[in-house]
């Protein structure tokens, strides 16, 4: 599903990732842990196509991301979902409009969009807030809407960068449970987090990073 071969990335000459090689299989739940600046976000960005590796190759579904042209990157992104810590919702739009956006980009019909949006919102328990403006939602609700937007296209891979960073322990548990449920349905989940509670709850493969180096790769949390 995802393969990295000796990937190295620098930002203005500073090392962000150093010689990372790994293989992630379909349906795995991978947790990237480590302190701030360890390279977790960079690794996600490289897989998402938001950054290019300076050295090495990245294969996602047998497609070399490092060789993708600028015009191919949006199509690559449509095969995956991305959830961020700071939600990234359009504040003046309704929940429905926010979740439907990836479907509009793909040019789906109104009927099909409505069906998929309702389905995604039901999966995150937000179907009753369909017409609510995003800015009036609580933090937990906003993150749920973001997850709904990320899964509305039925992505093969779901990337998440500190999705519980802005949430209290109760909401963190709820959001982690959502990711667990999504992973159980067969979606590969790759999450950057330094929240021990989430790591324990998801009980996935743990990749520990520090200063751009992969320190350990544990099959499951023990």
């Amino acid at each position: 599903m995802i393969q990295l071969f000796h990937v190295t990335k620098y930002y203005d000459g500073c090392l962000a990732l150093s010689d990372i090689s790994l293989r992630i299989e379909k349906g795995e739940c991978v947790l990237l842990t480590g302190p701030s600046g360890a390279g977790k976000t960079t690794l996600l960005k490289l897989i998402f196509g938001a950054e290019h590796p300076d050295e090495g190759q990245i294969l996602v579904q047998n497609r070399n991301i490092a060789r993708l042209s600028r015009s191919d990157i949006p199509y690559h992104r449509r095969t995956m979902g991305y959830v961020l810590q700071d939600f990234k919702l359009l504040p003046q739009r309704t929940v429905f409009e926010n979740v439907a956006l990836p479907l509009i980009i793909r040019g789906l019909s109104s009927f099909e969009s409505r069906r998929k949006v309702t389905e995604a919102l039901r999966a995150v328990g937000m179907e009753h807030k369909l017409s609510t403006i995003a800015s009036v939602l609580s933090a937990g609700e906003q993150q749920r809407v973001c997850i709904a937007r990320a899964i509305v296209n039925n992505p093969i891979i779901l990337l998440a960068d500190e999705p519980t960073g802005n949430l209290d322990p109760q909401l963190t548990t709820e959001i982690a449970a959502l990711f667990k449920a999504i992973n159980t349905r067969g979606t590969t989940v790759m999450m950057a987090t330094h929240n021990q509670q989430v790591v324990e709850q998801l009980n996935g493969r743990i990749l520990r990073l520090d200063c751009g180096h992969l320190l350990s790769d544990q099959g499951a949390y023990t």
């Binding site: 950054e51 949006p74 690559h76 449509r78 991305y82 961020l84 919702l89 956006l101 019909s109």
Partner: protein, 299 residues
């Protein structure tokens, strides 16, 4: 269809949300296009007048003296057959004498005792082209001069050359001033769209996050730029029409060229539509400038 609706709604939302910058954009575009329009209106009218003058340029052909009437007929037919010739008028020796007497009644005594008309017969022709160039005239004159039945051909070469040069300079000036004003319009619209672009950075980032192509992100801005340009063009057209009416009304009493209103005309409909289309084009160009500089290095 859903996407088209999305693009229009996004453009409309942006224009509505940023009302102040939209208004500034429309007004500045309108002023720029008005300046361009004033220049274009002047150019259009002066070009029209010069074109009319140029079209009426006459070439006078003098056939050989005492040419048989049959040969004269043949000559007239040969000249008429030339595709570059529009009209041909034969002026006989007698007609020339009558005309002289009509124009200069006090000088008639000069002709006393000369017997028959001392003036040569002539053929006066005009050219078919709306604005014949010096080159076209020279070629026709050369062809005529090669005819053995023609004594000489006369036309005001210097004057025609000067007129052609004047028109060429005017066109060059129009191109230069037009380019400068168009560039100003593009810059102004680019700034307006850039403002909208900056205030919507987060939205653009979200769109990129969910796999929107640069084209998908750009289309609402292009529509926005086109609307700004069209509105600016429409307002400019209104300013120009109002200004033109005021000008012709105020100058009605002046006896120049038989009154300005009879000489000057406002843009015909196609040219008016072209001004609005120009506004749309400038709007789109302004947007593209912004989009290109904003998206160039981003993944």
């Amino acid at each position: 269809m859903k996407r088209v609706w999305y693009f229009i709604r996004e453009a409309y939302t942006s224009l509505r949300t940023h009302q102040a910058s939209t208004l500034i954009g429309i007004v500045t575009t309108a002023f720029t296009l008005t300046s361009f329009g004033i220049f274009l209106l002047l150019y259009h009218n002066v070009h029209n007048i010069l074109g009319r003058v140029q079209h009426n340029i006459q070439i006078i052909v003098y056939p050989k003296d005492n040419l048989e009437s049959g040969k004269l007929q043949d000559l007239q037919q040969a000249i008429k057959a030339d595709p570059t010739v529009d009209s041909l008028t034969f002026i006989s020796k007698q007609d020339a004498l009558t005309e002289f007497k009509r124009q200069f009644p006090e000088e008639v005594y000069l002709l006393e005792g000369l017997g028959e008309s001392p003036f040569p017969a002539s053929l006066v022709l005009t050219m078919a082209a709306k604005t014949p160039t010096t080159d076209m005239i020279s070629k026709l004159v050369n062809r005529l001069q090669q005819n053995p039945d023609i004594e000489r051909v006369r036309y005001n070469r210097d004057w025609i050359e000067r007129l052609t040069l004047l028109i060429a300079y005017m066109e060059l000036g129009a191109l230069m001033v037009g380019s400068i004003l168009a560039l100003a319009s593009v810059t102004i619209i680019a700034n307006t769209v850039q403002l909208a672009f900056h205030t919507r950075q987060q939205e653009i980032e979200i769109l990129r996050l969910i796999g929107a192509t640069s084209l998908f992100i750009s289309i609402p801005y292009l529509i926005e730029g086109a609307i700004l340009g069209a509105a600016g063009g429409g307002v400019a057209l209104g300013f120009l029409r109002g200004g033109f009416e005021l000008f012709t009304h105020k100058t009605q009493g002046l006896n120049v060229f038989g009154g300005f209103s009879s000489v000057f005309e406002f843009f015909p409909l196609p040219l008016s539509l072209l001004l609005i289309a120009g506004g749309i084009l400038l709007g789109c160009l302004g947007t593209l400038t912004t989009i290109y500089s904003s998206m160039r290095f981003r993944l």
